[in-house]
């Protein structure tokens, strides 16, 4: 009986694992196939990889989208980490009833659905376009700005700051460091793992963001990777082999981060819960 149960467990988990992995394998296989073979669901690797790559880097110009996505993701990650860590540190180290109240108000923003603020944001950036075109609609700045400050990361840093030895702050003060100096010289180096976990999640969120860039970016040279894939799929004569190759390129960075930094990755995913 026990033996049977064990076997059932393995069978069940193996099926679950296969279902989870299969789309990835199929994506890699389809990258080497012609459009017709992809629609037919061919499971064997083909010989069309070079042609797919040629189209992807030639006609489709995925390079441009990769550059846009990278610029947006890198700047977003940097600003998110900077603003959220300063705030999380501020809320925890300089704790006061007033700040705690502000903190709980900020947390409410986690409940605000993006669809509800999308239209006012679009109008806001529309108004900005008139006076500051470099920040307005159809700029990379507009695509990243509203995503930079999120209550989630502020919460994340505050939770992690609880584990930071507060005595270090006093020690820094005794050494004559300024308050900001303590933050950059002591807090940031001590909390490297927290920053790493946050960076991974911020980068992924930005790299994969779809709805807001879809709304705010319009010209073809401003497309990000998700927009490009979405556009390729909804074209009149989609080339499925090329699309699958594009998907591989879209997934590579996040998959690589996952495999090389699994611990930080999971820590970031779990984020706020611990503590």
């Amino acid at each position: 009986m026990k033996q049977l149960k064990r076997i059932a467990t393995y069978v069940f988990l193996s099926i679950a694992a296969l279902v989870s992995i299969f789309p990835f394998l199929w994506m890699l296989v389809s990258m080497t196939n012609k459009s017709v073979d992809v629609t037919k669901g061919r499971l064997l690797p083909g010989t069309h990889l070079l042609e797919n790559l040629k189209v992807l880097f030639g006609q489709v110009d995925i390079m441009n989208a990769m550059i846009n996505s990278t610029i947006i993701a890198v700047i977003t990650t940097f600003l998110t980490l900077l603003i959220a860590s300063l705030a999380g540190y501020g809320f925890e180290i300089y704790r006061s009833p007033g700040k705690d109240r502000v903190f709980s108000i900020l947390l409410i923003s986690m409940m605000i659905p993006f669809a509800a603020i999308m239209i006012p944001l679009y109008r806001l950036f529309g108004q900005i376009s008139g006076t500051a075109p470099f920040l307005g609609i159809d700029t990379l700045a507009a695509a990243l700005l509203p995503t930079v400050v999120t209550a989630f990361f502020i919460f994340f840093f505050r939770q992690n700051t609880k584990m930071f030895a507060k005595e270090l702050v006093e020690a820094g003060r005794m050494d004559g460091l300024s308050e900001i100096g303590i933050f950059f010289r002591i807090y940031v180096p001590t909390m490297k793992t927290t920053f790493a976990a946050a960076a991974i999640i911020a980068f992924m969120n930005s790299w994969n963001n779809y709805l807001w860039p879809l709304v705010v970016l319009q010209s073809p040279d401003k497309l990000t990777i998700p927009l490009l894939i979405s556009n390729l799929g909804s074209g009149y004569t989609p080339d499925y082999g090329v699309i699958m190759t594009a998907i591989v390129f879209a997934t590579l960075p996040t998959a690589a981060v996952f495999f090389f930094m699994q611990k930080h990755f999971v820590a970031g995913m779990m984020g706020s819960v611990k503590g």
Binding site: A84, L124, V273
Partner: protein
């Protein structure tokens, strides 16, 4: 670091602070959080108020005028809105419980220390989380196409006699969306449960076993109550996520066939950017999501018994 901690842990002789020092400390604290407060206010609270004001206005594009509650009345007579709302609630009521049960099941099975290949199973089931929503949505669209792999598999196994119209049948299209979301997010939830399970005292299970509790009884009387706070957390997060569902619907079915898979977020997008723009009415629809998020979160807190 631990050495430093020990040394400075001694009672600080300079503990008494003057008023000026305290003021400086307080003022510095506000400096640290000012950017975050400004950012959240500008990109969340201000648009939220704007959306509320917009929801009482109507008109095309930028020619808007106040119409009172007209938009809210319009909701009740708008068949597209009704189907978007119904679809979203169906996704919610079917997908979230199925996913949470699956995730719990995986985590309990994988928490067994005698199980082999645990690491592999964990990574495999978690792997879908690394894909972007658009990317996996497109893959699912092709897998579930009329002559896609899923149909071919079903035909070869003689489970169906002719290919199923996964994406053009109203019921099957909803099912496809639900399966897709479940594929993407089950592993994510599993990770939360797995880490919570490590904090559950093993002796409790031992005691239960001695008392003759079956595995199923142990699951319902130990695991579920112990994981209640984290189940509550994940169900709220999933609820908010599902209410905002957009990327998958947009890229798998575009809301079709005949709005059978349309989600509220997608309807808002269509109202604003696909049809003749009616920002006022779109804002009204968006407030429905806000109201749903609030109501459902309250219900979930009540059901879970307010335990933090």
């Amino acid at each position: 670091m631990s050495q430093l901690t020990k040394v400075t842990n001694v009672e600080n002789p300079l503990n008494k602070k003057t008023f000026a020092q305290r003021f400086k400390k307080n003022y510095m604290g506000w400096l640290f959080i000012v950017l975050a407060v400004v950012g959240i206010s500008l990109f969340y609270f201000y648009p939220m108020i704007q959306a509320l004001l917009l929801s009482f206005q109507s008109g095309m594009g930028t020619n808007l005028e106040y119409v009172g509650l007209e938009n809210y009345m319009r909701l009740f007579n708008d068949p597209t809105f009704i189907s978007a709302l119904t679809n979203t609630l169906i996704y919610l009521l079917v997908q979230v419980p199925v996913m949470i049960v699956l995730a719990l099941l995986f985590s309990v099975l994988l928490n067994d220390s005698t199980l082999k290949f645990k690491g592999f199973f964990r990574v495999a089931i978690f792997l879908p989380c690394v894909t972007s929503l658009v990317a996996y949505a497109v893959i699912f669209k092709y897998l579930f196409g009329v002559d896609g792999l899923i149909n071919e598999l079903l035909l070869n196994l003689h489970l169906v006699s002719e290919p199923l119209n996964w994406l053009s049948d109203p019921f099957l299209a909803k099912l496809t969306i639900i399966m897709a979301i479940t594929w993407r997010w089950t592993g994510y939830n599993m990770i939360f449960y797995l880490s919570a399970l490590q904090n559950v005292d093993k002796q409790m299970y031992e005691a239960a076993r001695i008392d003759g509790a079956s595995a199923i009884q142990q699951f319902f009387f130990i695991t579920v109550p112990m994981l209640k706070p984290i189940i509550l957390f994940t169900s709220i997060v999933s609820t908010i996520g599902t209410l905002q569902l957009f990327d998958e619907v947009m890229n798998i079915t575009s809301g079709g066939p005949a709005n059978a898979t349309l989600s509220i977020s997608m309807y808002i997008y269509n109202l604003s950017f696909e049809y003749t723009p009616d920002f006022g009415y779109a804002a009204t629809v968006s407030y429905v999501i806000v109201i749903l998020v609030v109501i459902l979160s309250i219900i979930q807190f009540r059901v879970a018994g307010d335990r933090k």
